[in-house]
């Protein structure tokens, strides 16, 4: 198996790879190369967006979420923290309460809903925007793939990323504190398991962008527990009322695009999803085109986290259910306002260290030589057909020219150029 500079939530199954090159075009950071008919990705360029997983018709990009059975318990108590996406994966008659109860039935000792933390985070974001005096717009931080995309491709924009804790981390911290206290055990004896549609979160738990430790211990794909959970929730259950699931609000949702922004008391927001549109928008911000926008909600997956590659339900069905759930349960922002404001003042929501750009290897560590290599690359590029056919194994003619300069590829690998030269 290949060793990577950074931790990743997927690997390439070389046997399954037919060299179809679909991934080559799908990757937003041009991280993929096909060599000798097999796909590889360059670790430092990979932002864990999962586009390659979705694009490959042979399933050669394999997501590496943990499995419930395969992960030994890490403590005395195992607590489930489901992403709100989970609720949208079931028909409307299966209530969030029923689903939380189902998680207990399939083996978790406790469940914690993130709804309250979502309300808090919305309020904290609101306070932050009111006081912010630096550079606009502020970009949401809940999507690890977007945060990494910014670290890799838009280093100057790391300053624009909202420097507040995300709901899942807050919930995990609260769950650990509470369960440790109630059971007279240490926090490390409580294992927090995130149940997610998102391959990028698997990575962010093991290697947070802020470089600090995640309060979550394990990430399990919704698709992995779905069959068992589906069965559990189909049984009638009288115990639901006994369990304390009183804080289900669902309001801001955070799982469906545009949900938080509506509550932020600013009219100048944009919600964007899908890597290619996110990239276009970040280009505009970088070119200071969106001077009047205050907040950008950005999600790598089309439609937001309900479109994550580890979900099971069709994203449009899930979206419609999300809207209905939000109508039914509403949000509880007003109820938390007072406490959230106090917590905000106390620094409870602040992240420990700021998001820094990811240091990419330059063409050459020496600036003068790097300039010479850019020149050489541009000369090579000028000689190429510029049709981005991908037959050489690099995603674009420009990436190929760069690979040649870096010594990763031979100029002769350009079959179109070679055929043309032969005429």
């Amino acid at each position: 198996m290949a060793t990577y500079k950074y931790y990743h939530a997927h690997e390439v199954n070389q046997e399954a790879c037919h060299g179809r090159m679909k991934c080559l075009r799908a990757c937003p950071t041009d991280a993929i190369r096909v060599k000798d008919g097999k796909a590889h990705f360059i670790s430092e360029l990979c932002v864990d967006c999962g586009e390659c997983i979705t694009a490959c018709p042979h399933g050669a990009f394999v997501p590496l979420a943990d499995t419930l059975e395969g992960t030994p318990r890490k403590g005395k108590l195992r607590v489930a923290i489901p992403s709100p996406v989970l609720y949208s994966q079931f028909p409307s008659e299966v209530s969030p309460r029923r689903i939380l109860r189902g998680l207990l039935q399939i083996g978790f000792d406790h469940v914690f809903d993130v709804a309250k933390a979502c309300d808090w985070a919305t309020l904290a974001t609101r306070s932050y925007l009111k006081e912010h005096t630096g550079r606009w717009p502020i970009i949401s931080s809940f999507c690890p793939a977007v945060v990494r995309l910014i670290q890799v491709k838009y280093p100057e924009l790391t300053e624009n990323v909202l420097p507040l804790q995300v709901p899942r981390e807050m919930t995990a911290r609260e769950a650990k504190r509470k369960l440790a206290r109630e059971n007279g055990i240490s926090e490390s004896e409580v294992e927090a398991v995130y149940i997610t549609s998102c391959p990028a979160k698997v990575v962010s738990i093991r290697q947070p962008a802020e470089g600090t430790k995640s309060a979550l211990d394990t990430a399990i794909a919704i698709s992995e527990i779905y069959p068992a959970l589906r069965e559990a929730v189909s049984e009638p259950d009288s115990k639901i009322k006994d369990e304390l699931f009183d804080d289900i609000t669902y309001g801001p949702g955070w799982s469906s695009l545009g949900a938080i922004t509506g509550l932020l008391e600013t009219k100048r927001w944009i919600a964007v999803s899908g890597m290619s549109d996110v990239t276009k928008l970040l280009d505009d911000i970088e070119n200071s085109k969106l001077r009047n926008v205050e907040f950008i909600e950005a999600a790598a997956c089309l439609g937001g986290c309900i479109g994550g590659s580890l979900a099971v339900e069709n994203v449009y069905v899930a979206r419609s259910r999300t809207i209905r759930l939000a109508q039914k349960f509403g949000h509880n922002i007003a109820r938390h306002e007072h406490r959230a404001e106090r917590l905000y003042r106390s620094g409870f929501f602040s992240i420990e260290s700021p998001i820094a750009p990811r240091a990419l290897s330059p063409l050459d560590p020496d600036i003068a030589r790097a300039i010479a290599k850019v020149k050489e690359r541009d000369e090579i590029y000028a000689s190429l057909p510029k049709i981005d056919c991908g037959a050489c194994g690099s995603p674009t003619c420009m990436a190929f020219a760069e690979d040649v300069v870096k010594g990763y590829a031979e100029l002769s690998a350009c079959v179109v150029g070679a055929a043309r030269a032969a005429h």
């Binding site: 280093p155 100057e156 280009d283 970088e286 070119n287 200071s288 085109k289 001077r291 009047n292 750009p357 330059p362 063409l363 050459d364 560590p365 600036i367 003068a368 790097a370 300039i371 010479a372 850019v374 020149k375 541009d378 760069e402």
Partner: protein
């Protein structure tokens, strides 16, 4: 001293007046080249902002321009030489808030009169020369800390 001989990289681009679709593409290209060379983010950012503002001024106020991009390890120079109406009073144009933008342009989010002042702020050296009815030359220089 950075002499002509030290220029290791020199490229030229063109900008077309009123072409809002491609507006900003030259500064984007320049920015990504500087990033790849490995200049510090702050240097890249300053060049990108200054170039973007100057490029937009060509799109809004001039007919066409040639952009010359020169790089040495010590400095980055971007020169925009346009053909167009020119600027009668450069000192006035450099003032914060001064703008001759039409309502149509203002609706697109420009015309705050902040472009030239922003270029000045982000560059280590700026030269603006102009001849009314002929065109304007804007030369932006940003030094790279060694």
């Amino acid at each position: 001293m950075t002499g002509e001989r030290d220029i290791v990289l020199k490229e030229q681009f063109s900008v077309t007046g009123r072409d809002f679709g491609r507006a900003g593409s030259v500064s984007t290209t320049i920015k990504s080249m500087l990033k790849q060379i490995g200049f510090p983010p702050d240097v890249v950012r300053r060049v990108a902002i200054a170039t973007y503002e100057a490029e937009m001024n060509v799109v809004v106020y001039a007919d066409r321009a040639t952009v010359t991009f020169e790089v040495t390890p010590a400095a980055i120079t971007v020169t925009l030489e346009d053909q167009g109406r020119g600027i009668a009073d450069i000192e006035q144009a450099m003032r914060e808030g001064y703008s001759t933008a039409t309502d149509e342009i203002r609706e697109m989010g420009f015309g705050a009169g902040m472009g030239l002042p922003n270029i000045k702020k982000n560059s280590d050296d700026l030269e603006v020369t102009s001849e009314v009815g002929v065109g304007t030359i804007v030369r932006i220089k940003v030094l790279a800390p060694q």
